[in-house]
């Protein structure tokens, strides 16, 4: 594995087994259906998709918060799938999570200082004084007053709570931070503060981010490269700039066209492509290309033959038989 790749996923699959309400038989829901990707050192890889597309499940599989059904995940050149909890621990230190809901991801009965100190204590970072100094430092770098260590989460606003979550994630100097919808619960002005903070921290601490979100604007803003997910698969992957300028997959194209944009005269208004219908149930995926029932440009071939993710241009991959915007 090259020096530049921090995390590599190869054909990661995650199945959940449910029991059918009608017949009582077992149904398999494939939440992640064979995802391969690389996260490079120092970059932000954004994963975008609608609810139920499997983006959060993918994130949890990549950091081994959930066992994968099949496939491989290498982190820092080491295969981490199938490791025991104890074997995982040194790697866990290197990859930390920031969660969506700053209200439910912080224990309401613990003081902020203890919440941030917990990973330090578990990993025997040092004696109380060393831990205390580190907690102060962490609170300062996320823009909170170190004097607030004795306060409880409910005394903070949503944005401040997300800062506490970020401080906790950074406690052990991780190289990878996986952020699952870190700003979607926040008001827009607060969201901007947290996004700017995350950008500052990335350059100061040379962090690598895997940034999961449904908001296309947010993903564009933070990401170097972007993967678009639909029904458990990555349907398009590429550098953010060109993916947003010239999307290859009809799903990406439609998704971008319907984001309500500010008509402030700085950009031409895009033509809207409104998709019909809903995302199909992942337990009953369409044949062929999973997107074909909603695709405005689908042809016969799409109903039977499933397209694979291929590199169409350097750094730009798409899973589509009839990619768009190709010169």
């Amino acid at each position: 594995m090259s020096e530049t790749v921090l995390l590599r996923a190869t054909d990661v699959v995650k199945n959940f087994t449910l029991r059918s309400k009608q017949s009582g038989s077992r149904i398999i829901v494939q939440a992640v259906a064979g995802v391969s990707l690389e996260v490079r050192r120092g970059e932000t890889l954004g994963i975008v998709g609608e609810s139920g597309c499997g983006k959060s499940t993918l994130a949890r599989c990549l950091v081994q918060l959930m066992p994968v059904t099949s496939g491989h995940v290498e982190f820092n050149g080491v295969e981490i799938t199938g490791l025991s909890r104890r074997q995982l621990r040194p790697h866990r230190r290197q990859m930390q999570l920031v969660f969506q809901d700053p209200y439910s991801s912080l224990n309401p009965r613990r003081r902020v200082g203890d919440i941030v100190a917990e990973p330090l204590r578990i990993n025997k970072y040092g004696d109380d004084e060393v831990v205390q100094t580190r907690v102060d430092e962490l609170l300062r770098i996320v823009g909170l007053d170190p004097a607030s260590v004795n306060r409880y989460p409910h005394e903070f606003s949503g944005g401040q709570r997300q800062r506490i979550g970020i401080a906790r994630a950074l406690a052990l100097n991780p190289s990878l931070v996986v952020a699952d919808e870190p700003v979607s619960a926040l008001d827009v002005s607060v969201q901007a503060q947290v996004l700017n903070l995350m950008a500052d921290l990335q350059s100061e601490l040379s962090l690598t981010y895997l940034f999961i979100a449904h908001d296309l604007g947010v993903v564009r803003h933070v990401s170097d490269r972007v993967g678009v997910m639909y029904l458990g698969e990555i349907v398009e992957l590429g550098d953010a700039e060109t993916l947003y300028e010239r999307p290859l997959h009809p799903y990406t194209e439609a998704l971008l066209s319907v984001v309500p944009e500010l008509d402030d005269g700085t950009h031409p208004v895009r033509e809207r492509i409104v998709l019909t219908g809903d995302v199909p149930n992942p337990s009953d995926k369409p044949s062929g290309c999973p997107f074909h029932p909603r695709c405005p440009v689908a042809q016969d071939r799409c109903t039977t033959e499933k397209p694979v993710l291929v590199e169409l241009a350097p750094g730009r991959s798409v899973a589509c038989h009839f990619p768009r915007n190709v010169a």
């Binding site: 604007g217 564009r220 947003y244 309500p260 944009e261 809903d278």
Partner: protein, 341 residues
């Protein structure tokens, strides 16, 4: 329709004030809101959580029943004062003349009855029709809001629909009596972007078909930009800027609007840094006597200790003491540098 009726706005709100007496003190949720909604007009009310945008709309429809609330001001619907009307008179306006769509469609539907039953009940509450007639209307309405196979689906329960389909059911219910005014409170916030596009398109189409007016409450400037004819920007229960959509989005005048517009990450262009508004929203328990935004404003000066009135020209108003020419200058700098300072 006579000329007099055309010229009176459909809904006129004048100096609406809503406060709650709580254990911690008096919470001034809405502090002097005046808006008018013309016929066939879409008015967008935008603001962050706690800005009072929802409470304002709920209270003018008599939906705030808290014993500790006090509401004052004037609300005229078709020229008739409706604030403080008795419950039964209010009920005949709500649902028939004015309908509401809520953010979470599940809270607007009861889970224990079929959607058809709920629409039929709504129609029969306001109109003297038979059950069979009302049922036929329900099927027709579901078809109209884009629910496939409405004759079968009318017999399904809310949980058997997806989020987007449920919101369509709520819209069908709201439209069942052809209301003249639709109040939509964050109607697409809980939905995915492709579903949001479907719902916004549906609202646009229905508004054109029925000539209804819409008050759209949202935190999303993008949605405002696509839907609204006029915009009211609210902060801490007060309107800080009011104007036509183009005016407010292209030449915003209030520093809060600048921050709100600049903080939105755009699909169209990568910016190195988002504009941020320092600090957090002011507590409604403790509103400053002057401009409510002053504590977070980079341009405050002595005047800001007094409360600014909404003023302006050509229907584009803002509540800010800054000199208009100075504002144009600052705004240009903000757009160029991306920094509010």
């Amino acid at each position: 329709m006579s000329d007099a009726r055309v010229s009176t706005p459909l809904l006129e709100v004048e100096d609406l004030r809503v406060s709650f007496n709580t254990r911690e003190g008096l919470v001034q949720a809405v502090d002097g809101l005046s808006i008018s909604v013309g016929r066939k007009e879409v008015v967008g009310i935008v603001g962050e959580s706690g800005s009072g945008k929802s409470v304002a709309m709920y209270s003018l429809l008599g939906l705030v029943r808290d014993a500790n609330v006090s509401i004052s001001g004037h609300v005229r619907y078709e020229g008739r004062e409706i604030l403080g009307l008795p419950d039964d008179e209010m009920r005949s306006i709500r649902g028939r003349d004015v309908a509401m769509i809520f953010q979470d469609p599940m809270t607007a539907l009861t889970p224990v009855y079929t959607v058809g039953w709920q629409i039929v009940e709504q129609i029969r509450a306001h109109e003297d029709v038979t059950k069979a007639q009302a049922h036929a209307r329900a099927v027709e309405l579901l078809g109209e809001v884009g629910i496939p196979d409405p004759a079968r689906r009318v017999h399904l329960y809310p949980h058997e629909f997806s989020g987007g389909m449920r919101q369509r059911v709520v819209i069908a219910m709201a439209l069942s009596c052809h209301p003249k005014l639709l109040i939509a409170d964050e109607p697409t916030t809980a939905l995915d972007v492709t579903t949001q596009a479907q719902i916004l398109e549906l609202l646009r189409r229905l508004q054109a078909t029925y000539d209804s007016s819409i008050v759209l409450i949202t935190h999303d400037m993008g949605v405002i930009s696509e839907m609204a004819d006029r915009v009211v920007v609210m902060y801490a229960g007060r309107p800080v800027e009011v104007g036509g959509r183009r005016d407010v989005i292209r030449t915003p005048r209030h520093p809060y609007t600048w921050g709100l517009l600049g903080a939105v990450p755009r699909v169209e262009s990568k910016r190195t840094r988002l504009v941020t508004i320092p600090g957090v929203a002011v507590s409604p328990l403790d509103l400053p006597p002057g401009c409510a935004f002053a504590p977070r404003c980079a341009y405050r000066f002595e005047m800001c200790d007094q409360r600014p009135a909404l003023r302006g020209d050509d229907g584009h108003l803002d509540a800010c003491w800054l000199d208009p020419t100075r504002k144009v200058e600052i705004r240009r700098r903000v757009t160029e540098t991306g920094v509010v300072s």
